[in-house]
């Protein structure tokens, strides 16, 4: 869809956010907690922050909560009452302040869960969600979106994309019909845009590898000794997977007893030993070497081959969050250098 553009002043943006909160919409936006910034439900639009490169946690929990109830049962005097949480209506949600890489990640996330048997929870939640992203005018050394098919002004996956331009104004890319209806409902706040070249306002993120080449090189790397050295300092936590906007692994947990209980879907991570351990005690990924290899291979080899998209958007969260400074960007560059090039 060809995008139409508007401009919006910072004051009008704040007015829009206040109006959304006042209208009782579930607005999730960047807010500060200590030194970090998180997407959190907004009660007061004044708490929304704009001066961050990237939030600590990705916005994926809006589509894929860290603990999601699937089915519950409760025994009462009438008998057993079973609740299928799939049948519950998902309230309308608005995500504000996601970066273009986040929106691109969520679109890949939705695509992943729609392949084959579509996941009802994720698709319903995406339908209920409007994404207002904010282009990047600043980046940091962990960023590598331009190596992963996104960019600081990428409109992919957003419904509206705002780009800060001069004089406290934003250029508004209307990307989808959902975005258009949000503009239409608040028409007075927006102005028709003159022709503005957005690129000059955007952060420059240098491309450091081509994903197609990485995918090719990884295809024959499974038994390569590089993985052992690369993963030595990995301590085996799930921080990288849980801050990642595309990591989608989950586990099904049952809680309760014969009278009351719940079945939940919870995040899981390939960095954990327990992730692959068999009931026999055998673990096909016995050490962090195999687990780290799985993480890189899934994103840069398996997903491109099976689902035709890269499992990484270069948001850099894993590198910033890693207690052992694993730095994914650096590791991928090293793979490009170390592994033999093939035809």
């Amino acid at each position: 869809m060809t995008s139409t553009t508007y401009t919006l002043t910072h004051d009008n943006l704040n007015a829009l956010l206040r109006a959304l909160v006042a209208a009782g919409k579930q607005l999730h936006a960047p807010q500060r907690v200590g030194p970090k910034v998180f997407f959190k439900p907004v009660n007061d639009a004044a708490t929304i922050v704009f001066d961050y490169v990237q939030t600590a946690e990705s916005p994926k929990s809006l589509l894929f909560p860290k603990a999601e109830f699937l089915v519950s049962y409760r025994q009462n005097s009438e008998g057993m009452v079973v609740t299928d949480h799939l049948q519950k209506e998902i309230p309308e949600m608005i995500l504000f302040g996601s970066r273009p890489c986040d929106a691109a990640a969520l679109s890949r996330f939705v695509q992943f869960f729609a392949d084959g048997h579509a996941d009802a929870m994720v698709t319903q939640r995406r339908r209920a969600l409007t994404i207002i992203s904010m282009s990047c005018i600043a980046s940091d050394p962990a960023c590598f979106c331009t190596s992963c098919g996104s960019s600081p002004g990428d409109t992919t996956g957003s419904d509206l994309l705002l780009t800060p331009i001069s004089n406290g104004r934003y250029l508004v890319d209307v990307v989808t019909e959902k975005g258009q209806s949000l503009v239409a409902a608040n028409e007075a706040l927006f102005e028709q845009a003159p022709t503005i070249v957005k690129d000059s306002y955007l952060a420059t993120v240098e491309a450091v590898f081509t994903p197609e080449e990485i995918t090719k090189r990884l295809a024959t790397s499974f038994n390569d000794p590089i993985w052992k050295n690369a993963s030595l300092r990995c301590i085996g936590c799930g921080a990288c997977a849980y801050v990642c906007p595309t990591c989608s692994c989950f586990t099904i947990e049952d809680e309760g007893n014969d009278r009351t209980g719940d079945r939940l879907r919870c995040w899981d991570s390939c960095a954990f030993a327990l992730f692959t351990v068999h009931t026999t005690g055998h673990n096909p990924r016995p050490t962090q070497t195999e687990r780290w290899r799985q993480r890189v291979m899934h994103k840069f080899s398996y997903l491109p081959e099976t689902n035709h998209f890269l499992g990484c958007v270069g948001c850099g969260r894993c590198s910033r969050a890693c207690p052992a400074d694993m730095n994914l960007k650096e590791q991928i560059i090293a793979i490009a250098e170390l592994l033999p090039a093939i035809g």
Binding site: K228, C237, G238, L264, C266
Partner: protein, 266 residues
């Protein structure tokens, strides 16, 4: 720094150590764990104020253990960790070669008495705001403290970085991974998060040497160390036991003294 690099090269060259666990420059001004196995590797070793994450966590890692005898560059917190691990029988044959650096002077601590002497004379110093946070929390009403942790734990998604970064969380099977019976609720909802963090705090009560690595590691910015620091403070107050000081000390919460001040236990 140079004397440290020389010492590491010497240990590797004489085959006394197969690997020297230390720090090297990392990304964007950070330092990262580094495993020197060659002369060249040793040249990359750095040691300064940025080296905070507790390296003792690697002493029990399979891939490091299989390299052979290890040397480790140790802050006072790491020395205490090694003493505490020794008291928990984590070093079967010998201690790792423990290198402490003072004014570019490298000293080897190779046995219980020298480690204990260093641990006793070098307190673990965490930032002063942590001491204040511990005190503030202790002074809160139970309801306020509960509200504080409820808010903090709301961001926990159970990535277990706290556990992975903790050298004293060395269990090969953690209680949270047991499902017959299921001791700890797995889901990262309010109940599951409380169960996890309280279980971990209780398992580290009287064992936590207060290095703060769990807080440093937490991607959600939860000050987790406040729990185990306070738990250790309580154990010290009530049982007179300080972890990481005596390599042959019995564990505070699983040993019995005839002269215990509590009558009910006798």
């Amino acid at each position: 720094m140079q004397s440290l690099q020389h010492k590491a090269a010497e240990l590797l060259g004489s085959n006394r150590a197969s690997v020297v666990i230390g720090y090297a420059e990392g990304s964007d001004g950070r330092v990262r764990p580094h495993f020197a196995r060659t002369n060249d590797d040793a040249k990359a070793l750095v040691w300064d104020q940025r080296c905070k994450q507790n390296l003792a966590v690697y002493l029990t890692k399979h891939e490091i253990k299989e390299m052979g005898p290890a040397a480790i560059i140790a802050s006072p917190a790491v020395v205490r960790t090694i003493v505490q691990m020794a008291s928990e029988q984590q070093f079967v044959r010998s201690f790792p070669i423990t290198l402490v650096v003072d004014n570019d002077q490298v000293t080897e601590l190779n046995d219980g008495p020298s480690l204990e002497a260093f641990a006793t004379s070098h307190p673990v110093l965490f930032p002063s705001h942590v001491t204040k946070e511990v005190e503030d929390l202790a002074a809160m009403s139970v309801a306020d403290r509960f509200a504080f942790w409820q808010e903090e734990f709301s961001r926990c998604f159970k990535c277990y970085a706290c556990r992975s970064a903790c050298p004293l969380c060395y269990c090969t099977k953690c209680i949270t991974e047991s499902n017959q019976p299921q001791w700890v609720t797995v889901a990262p909802h309010a109940l599951g998060n409380f169960e996890w963090h309280l279980n971990r705090a209780m398992h580290l009560a009287g064992r936590c040497i207060q290095c703060g690595s769990c807080t440093l590691a937490c991607p959600a910015g939860i000050p987790i160390a406040l729990l185990t620091i306070e738990a250790s403070n309580i154990v010290q107050r009530e049982f007179g036991y300080q972890p990481g000081i005596k390599a042959d000390a019995p564990a505070a919460l699983s040993s019995f003294r005839v002269e215990d001040k509590e009558a009910f236990i006798r």
